[in-house]
């Protein structure tokens, strides 16, 4: 979006010009532009950044920094949005973690930043997360989607354990579950009753969008 001064916020977000973006946000607020409109423009930037990542033009560190820049801009906007009685619409909330006994955490991390950059609210519990913890956090955060990562033959069963624990706690119906990691596959997802399998970060993003009912 280009405002009167000719500032292209989409390009500025994509080029990670943080100071300029934050100045622009403040300027827009001062000029009484509705905060949700400002947020909309920022999201547009993030979306283009995500597209460029999928096309191989933007690299992962840039994607991560773009997500962080967006977060800081939203912090500036937060009070104004609240005051206006509005609510920032997010694509959804995703809770993410690597299952108990498994310390491979780069995969879930990468999926988390990819989702954040695409506009999801993501809470990552890191690695070696016991089923009880997933249940507790699911009860507390009520995420739309729970993402479970496992890279070892000996820990993949824990993905099934989490699904069972959610069921036992009566939380299974409110939360879609997606599994991923080097040893997981569609057959395994079906076997343990997960709602989806994500082969990599981009596939995960697309599957999660489908789970929350976004088609693009």
């Amino acid at each position: 979006m280009t405002n009167g001064s000719g500032f292209d916020v989409v390009e500025a977000v994509c080029e990670l010009r943080e100071d300029e973006v934050l100045d622009w946000v403040e300027g827009q607020l001062a000029a009484d532009v509705p905060p949700l409109e400002i947020a909309e423009a920022l999201s547009g930037g993030l979306e283009v950044l995500g597209q460029r990542f999928a096309e191989g033009i933007v690299f992962i560190p840039e994607l991560v920094l773009g997500g962080e820049l967006f977060g800081r801009a939203m912090e500036l906007l937060g009070p104004a949005i609240e005051a206006s009685g509005g609510e920032m619409k997010r694509l959804g909330t995703v809770l993410m973690g690597t299952v108990k006994g498994d310390l491979h955490d780069l995969g879930q991390n990468l999926v988390s930043v990819t989702l954040t950059a695409a506009g999801f609210k993501v809470v990552s519990l890191g690695c070696d997360v016991p089923p009880e913890r997933f249940v507790e956090e699911t009860a507390r955060l009520k995420p739309d989607v729970l993402g479970l990562s496992a890279l070892l033959t000996t820990t993949m069963q824990a993905q099934g354990d989490v699904i069972e624990a959610l069921q036992a706690a009566g939380l299974r119906n409110g939360t879609r579950v997606i599994v991923g990691g080097a040893v997981a596959n569609q057959r395994w997802a079906d076997e343990i009753g997960a709602d989806a399998y994500g082969a990599d970060a981009i596939d995960g993003l697309n599957k999660i969008k489908a789970l929350v009912g976004i088609n693009d």
Partner: protein, 487 residues
Amino acid sequence: MQPRLSFLSEPEIDRIVDGAFHVLAEIGVHIGSPRVLDIVASQDGVHLDGDRVTMNRDLVERSLKSCPAEVRLYRQDREEAIVLAGDRVNFVAGSTVPYVHDPAADGLREATARDLVNHTKVINRCDHIDLQSGSFVPSDVPKPIVSAYRYYLAMLYSPKPMFSGAFGTDDMEVIWGVMSALAGGEKELVARPLALLCVNPSSPLGLTEVVAENTAFLADKGFPTLMIPIPLAGGSSPVTLAGTLVQHTAENLATLVVSQSVRAGSPVIFGGGPSIMDMRKGTACQAATEAVIMGAGIGQIAKRLNLPSSTNTGRADSKCVDYQAGEESGAALTTMALARINLIRGSGTLEYANVISTAKMLIDNEICGMAKRLIEPIDTGDEALALDVIVERGASTAGYLSSPHTLKRFRDEFFVPSDLIDRGPRREFEEAGSKDAFARAQDRVGEILADYTPREIDADRKAEADRIIAAYAAKHGMDRLPITEIQ
């Protein structure tokens, strides 16, 4: 002159090693086992901050001094040792993957115990591969027993020393039992290790409960431990090669302090698989050029620390056995040999160590043979210089083919690859069906499996190993394991 490759000058190695000391003294490592934490905390030079442990340089240097400079491993069927030390180069087959490359099944299939056995039979015939490995994680047995069952099967089917790692602490005990049974007792096993186990510090700077416990377990037995941190530059370590090597060295040193705190003098191997996170795809590339550079760096750092060395570099990232796979494993295995790494991992693997191809194992075996030839010095002794021979034959029409000098030296002077490496005339190539190396290797796998003769093994030792693995399988709900006989 011994051909040898260096990427770092002595002062540059100093900067990396000093950097590692600095990191250990400043932020140290996380140790996930309270029991092991207590053992380390009783050392002078340790400072505890919750479950983080910082270590001063003195302690680390003391620990380094007590580590042996060499590790010896033994085949089940031979007296002489395979030595990991100094400039020695040994190759170990790639390990622990869930998938087997199978062109008939769209390129990929979940591996079974049968795949592991077949692969092990092929490794037996790979003359340039010194150590075998638990290649596949079989999908047809209960998940908790996969790791111990791999040791059992691989050690039944091949006498070569076995390398792999335990997944947890439970299976470590069972693996120990199986190895001891096959060695004829625990004392015999420690005196002549028939296998090697690894521990994997979790980058950045984490010795998890399993790593700490298993390091302590092996140290307590006085059994060799291969340390394998896998920092991925830009993902779990600094994006720069030097920064990643600093962190990687610190992770090795911290593990070694644990080992030496449990029992001074226990053998450790300075190893690892530092690589990069691909910044476009987010994959843990194992064959990146930077992995090769850092692998060579490990060799130099290990030598400075007077420890045996190992690297993962040799793994391929390609999804199939193609030119890319050949380039990746070829360049990495050769460079690691030139860097004089004592134990070079990765042959047979594809897709960043998620897949193994048994046919590729055979081709990689040829590369390893060539790499071993490559690092032999050029003999410039009188006979090799061949002045007499040149004077006698150089001006005659007889040529050199009929020279006694040729007859005497040709078998030793040249490395003779198997038929997998095609150097023949086009006529033979066409008569054999114009097959490429991969197709030839697939044929060869079939021939090796068809012509397998079961090896002899002490019946009492096998019975004891059978008993241990059967009890473990029964505990996890399996009455009959898919394979327990050598056939």
